[in-house]
Symmetry: C2
Subunit: 290 residues, 2 copies
């Protein structure tokens, strides 16, 4: 039996101010607090530097919030990771490169260096989440980042609904997928007035499913609080490879901590054989289409 590899994971479930400076300052404070409590892998929410502007169908003023990567924000976050000697999944940043904007997460190592940059692949576009008017889509499959504290993949929000994404990350060796997130209950027409829905339960279930099907850890770090007509419900969580919830937030600002054992995924995968017994020769349908 291989050795245990225990590490504490910290998720910062933040409310957001309008000012980027105020949000960045709060993030620094919360990261330092989580680190002081022993967290070695710490994550921030999606687009944590400002309001979730995609609630509006097209708020062109928000375009000015986009920044270069590397840039001032990544410098600050890198220095923070080095100061706290942590792996920092820096939520996501509204990135601009040339004329294209992206929703981008940077992963920083404990030496402060950027060890990965991921541009959101699956972009939603529905009432309250008009992201296709703000972001281009990334053009890369998920990557796995080897860090001193574990092998981590990062997806962003809507990516978390796609089993293809989680599976590819697991196949590449991810022990943990972290999803910086911005999901809430928006004021929209229901799918059908006769059908009650629980978005938070459905959202959690999709991801806990990835944990079970791939025998990996899943962590979602959501924003929280009311912005315009949307209630970001928080509910950040950590699920283990056995589909158990190790931590789960309510709808208030807070730091969630979870002790995880990163030796567990490989042991579970060897026992349940889900990656070994796949039939990729039968999966051609999955790569058809646009």
């Amino acid at each position: 039996m291989s050795e245990h590899r225990n590490v504490t994971l910290g998720l910062l479930q933040m409310t957001m101010e309008d000012s980027a400076e105020a949000n960045l300052t709060k993030a620094l404070t919360m990261v330092r607090e989580a680190a002081s409590k022993g967290a070695k892998i710490i994550a921030l929410p999606e687009l944590f530097m400002g309001p979730y502007f995609c609630i509006d169908e097209k708020n062109t003023a928000a375009f000015d919030r986009a920044e270069s990567i590397p840039g001032k924000s990544t410098e600050i976050l890198g220095a923070l990771a080095a100061e706290c000697k942590i792996v920092l999944v820096g939520g996501s940043i509204y990135e601009i490169e040339g004329k294209t904007r992206y929703n981008t997460s940077c992963i920083f190592g404990p030496d402060g260096a950027v060890i990965g940059r991921y541009r959101k692949l699956h972009i939603p576009h529905d009432p309250g989440f008009y992201e296709q008017n703000y972001f281009g889509s990334g053009n890369a499959a998920p990557e796995v980042h080897s860090t001193p504290y574990g092998d981590i993949a990062v997806g962003i929000c809507y990516d978390q609904w796609f089993p293809e994404f989680a599976r590819m990350a697991a196949l590449k060796g991810a022990e943990l997928i972290i999803y910086p997130t911005a999901i809430g209950n928006a004021e929209v027409e229901p799918v059908d007035p006769a059908i009650p829905e629980d978005w938070e339960g459905m959202w959690r279930a999709a991801q806990v499913g990835h944990a079970a099907s791939n025998c990996i850890y899943i962590a979602a770090c959501n924003r929280v609080g009311n912005e315009a007509s949307t209630h970001f419900f928080g509910g950040s969580f950590v699920a283990d490879p056995n589909a158990r919830l190790l931590a789960r937030g309510d709808d208030t600002e807070k730091i969630l901590l979870a002790d995880i054992d990163l030796s567990y995924p490989k042991k579970m995968q060897a026992s349940w054989r889900f990656l070994l017994e796949r039939r990729p020769d039968m999966y051609g349908e999955l790569t058809k289409g646009k």
Copy 2:
């Protein structure tokens, strides 16, 4: 808003006798009872005609249980579907064709005809579930069967852990996936003595995840009871596209009924856009390998 399409689903969570005749007789009785209570789509468990012989690493005597399809059993089940005017997912049958044996599910229409035959694609092989010594693997992706009561795909047991399977079924238009199942807690070495596990919770979570990620109904019809050293835990369930459990069995023999609305999957898919916003151009990794 399109019309509602309500239908009652019946899952027969059976204990098994040694004799095929006794199991078939019990299945007939339970199907008739479920139909009399209004069920229009009814499912039986995996290999419901006998003990789950794959507990033994290689029980060659069990090879003689294999039968041809079509054959006597499918004749009886077809006549039953016609008698009750139901869609019957006939659990699975130990099939022999030429020299190869399969774990095969037949789907019967309300006129008694076989409208689909599915050979288990993913075959497990671990202590207590030595199926690769008993079954060849199917060589077809999941199919969707259009029936008077809905568009249904069928997978068998271990298939239920594979998100690829559920996704392909959803892409082909399945509104409901039914998984005849034989899962229980076997007497095996734990993955790690320090890590407690809940197989039933993990098993349910993987599948409820498919319901949420694909916005479809998922139904698992498990066998129940003690066979040799294995406790088949029952726990059959129906999950809706919003990841809510509509029915869930305990560990006793019973008929589970659930009222479902098959207009719901397409409405949910249109709203959440999970099938529309996929990035198959990035999914090549999923079809690599054996």
